[in-house]
Amino acid sequence: MSFNHAPIAQEAKNYINFCQDKTALDAARVKYLGRKGIVAELFSGIPALPQEERKAYGASLNILKQAIEEVLHQKEAALSASVASAGAPGPDITLPGKKPLLGRQHPLTQVETEICDIFGRFGFKVFEGPEVETEYNNFEALNIPLEHPSRDAFDTFYIKTEGKEESSAGRRLLRSHTSPAQIRALKTCLPPMAVVVPGRVYRPDAMDASHSFMFHQVEGIAVSEKMRFSDLKGVLIAFAREMFGEKTKLRFRPSFFPFTEPSAEVDITCFLCAGQGCPVCKKSGWLEILGCGMVHPRVLKSSGCDPKAWRGFAFGMGVERIAMLKFGITDIRMFFENDIRFLEQF
């Protein structure tokens, strides 16, 4: 008996490939591989064969069966592919996705955290102070005497006290800068130390597009035996490059703060015009970004540190200003209106 099943295989292949849909393919499967199908019929002929031929014949039938299965499988894949491309049932991937609702940190918190995290990588820890401060910590301890014009830069909200007027040291106010936390930090963790202090500060400025009676600062102070002005420059340039980009340049200008000496005002190259001059940097190519200097010996003294043994540097920056520059926001009041469409942008 012939073991050549090639004609059957060929006929099956043609038949299967002729099928146009899944129903026809199922019928073809039944026709060839069903319980009463052609292959089953051939298998049923095995017992009639002589003993010595049975094994070889069975093996050849198995090959035939596999070949047909393979063709069926291929055709099935081809059919389902064409069904998918025709787009009949199944998902319409062009329908909008169901986006999970995202929360947001306030843009000021984001910028404040970014600043603190950068200094954190340099070894600074985050220290927090109260918003209601004593007049002593806000002024005298920072070498800002009473009735001195250097106080003009720090107009301050005072808090009513009941009964008799307290002494200056005891008068309470809303801190007009984060610098009083320098005093607290130095008293809390003895040098060597390095901390950044983020937080809200208050000044009685009439509100307009660039002024707010409440705003945020990040203050930094680092004290060790041998801290240098060049260390301050090194830390701030490293900060500025992380915050504003690798190409950022810094400009240190002599300035005056009662609590630092020498003092400097720091400008960065305007990142909006790359220092070419634009309306934001008032055509100067520079943006004033922070104030800094070596901690004044009187400040060290009022914090209980011996200025002969310790040296430090300090710096402070406005979070709103940096956020406004970074995000291109032109009105400071937007931060405190909390329009949901504003908050969702950051």
């Binding site: 909008p96 169901k98 609702l101 929360g103 306030h106 918190t109 340099f122 070894g123 820890k125 220290f127 109260p130 918003e131 209601v132 009735e147 014009p149 250097s150 003009d152 830069a153 909200f157 005072y158 808090i159 009513k160 809303l174 809390t188 040098p191 390095a194 901390v195 809200r200 208050y202 009685p204 009676f213 409440m214 680092a222 060790s224 041998k226 240098r228 002005f229 060049s230 420059k233 090194g234 490293a238 400009r251 240190f252 200008r253 002599p254 300035s255 005056f256 000496e261 020498p262 005002e265 070596m294 004044h296 010996p297 009187r298 209106e337 909390n338 329009d339 949901i340 469409r341 969702e344």
Partner: protein, 690 residues
Amino acid sequence: MRISYSWIKEFVDVKLSPEKLSDRLTMAGLSVASLDEVDGDWVYDIEVTSNRPDWLSVRGIVREVAAITGAKFKKARPVLRATLAPGKKSSQPFSVRVSDTKGCPLYYGNLIVGVKVTTSPAWLIKRLKAVGLRSVNNVVDITNLCLMEYGQPLHAFDFDKLEGGAIVVRRACDGERLILIDGVEKKLSAGLLVIADTKKPVAIAGIMGGQDSEVSSKTANVMLESACFDPVAIRRGARLLGVASDSSYRFERSIDLSGVKAGLLAATKMICDMCGGTLAAAKQAGTPAQSKKQKIIFDLKEAADVLSIRITPREAKSTFEKLGFGVKQKKPDVFEVTAPSFRKDIKVAQDITEEIARAYGYDKIPLTTPEIKSFSMKVPKVQTIERMIRRLLVSMGLKEVITYSLTSEENYAKSGLPLPQAISALVNPLSQDYSLLRTTLLPALLECASFNISRNNPDFEIFEIAHVFGKGEETISVGILLSGDKRAAWLKDSMPYTLYDLKGVLESLFNEFSIKGYVFTPLEKQSSLTGFTPSQGSALNFCLLVNGSEAGSLGVIPEAVKRSWGIKAKDDIFVAEFSLSAFACAADLKKVFRPLASTPSITRDISVLAGNATPYAAIKELIEKRAAGYLKSVALAECYQGKEVPEGSRGLTISLIYGSEAKTLTDAQINLVHSNVLDGLVKELSLTLR
């Protein structure tokens, strides 16, 4: 301080272009805010820091320009001086008396007679205009010109208006009044330093002159004042009156005592030369005695180390000399430095270090990396938890808001909150809207809600973490507000927020920090946090207890409160506020791995009909009690109220998940426990099984 390029060039031979000079000034600490071309000249607007009053004059700035550019002074311009005209001694009575020598340590009065007051020559008008001063008349313009050049404020009086020909520097008496040259009448309070004649005040010392005695076209005889007034007295006076002038600005910052006479002589000479006057009498009260000059020991090595620069003693010495400092070399590296009288800012060695740094150039100081040693600082738990809560709330889809810490009585009233007795008020608020230190975040959250809803955005979920203020204590509060729908991309999927969404946010926080002892309960007595009593129709009608004490409150905003905030949205608004410190006390930040259950669990549902009077908590408690040891968790599948159930009751479907960590439970065991649970629900709580 405004100054023109041509005025500077009059003194020093600057070779730099106006722009280049502007950069040099800025880098030397004379920050140039603007440089503008005005009538063919260049005008610098320089921001002078409060420690450098010596830069509030042309001569002061020129001194600095010479020091930083090395430009030579032009042939020294003679210091102008006028001399008493011989034989022209005035017969009129003229006297100067200072009754408060602390307030006025030095006073010069020059009587110039026969003055013709007219308009100023064009060059003078132009020069003043360039620096932002308006021309008045030749005499006044000369005083202003000398003020700008020498930094010494001057004032010219119409001598014939001075009663008794007298100048008396004294403190004002209560009730005295004076009309100032700007036409505004001021009531003078006792203690204010004034210039008076024998009868009345004629000027407020160092701040502004009086209208009546000002120099006008009718003036023939001028009394020219050049004086030194106490900075604190002037500062207080200017603040008290709300009047500031170029004079008060300079006196507040303190003037150079040695310049008082220079300004006087220059102006006298100019008035004599340009206005046809004659100096008839010169009076003086007080002495121009300088306080003893302070000697500062300056260690160059220390300064070079701080700045990380190399500088020779010779270079340092040359810097000091350029700046006009007296200097004695004590040791090769140690100097004894004496600052000139106009440098009152130089007090300690660090001030001199800054001068060295300025001369060297801040930009040339190298960059180094400090060694920041690790140090111990205990971060308060509240600080850690604040950051964690903020991140968790954001991960739940909430947006953080930042609102003003200052509030008003009206905001409390609008929010239906009583004004706490412990609230702190500002002495000097900007307005009544921001006059109190808030004790709660609720009004500000409502204001945010009102703001957004009125802009057609009724759906949002927001929170704030901020300080709140009690009497003498400052704590951190967390406020949450949910409004409108939980938004979904496919709009039909949107669901309105419910109180349970808000409660869920809080429960998630509790779970995250492993806080177990929390209870939500209706507010029954006055809240110790908000001071609120339940009868007042509060927004916060539920109370949150943590380990038995009140930690916060939550609830639905009543319609009346919504109305008072102008909120027109129909949907309910939910708010919660809790104390971060109460939360931090109970929080457990330790995370310990629990082995994952390997035994199977079996779920059985219970459907019961429960009266509204039976709280879910009671049902859950009973289930947990009766199935103790067999129960993994209890979950609410549904709470149904509507047509299918009788009024006043709810259909609850509760899923019980049975299982044991230790062993696999059999069906028979669970059946036994489950029927015990069902039995309890019927017998103990009288529920109907459905």
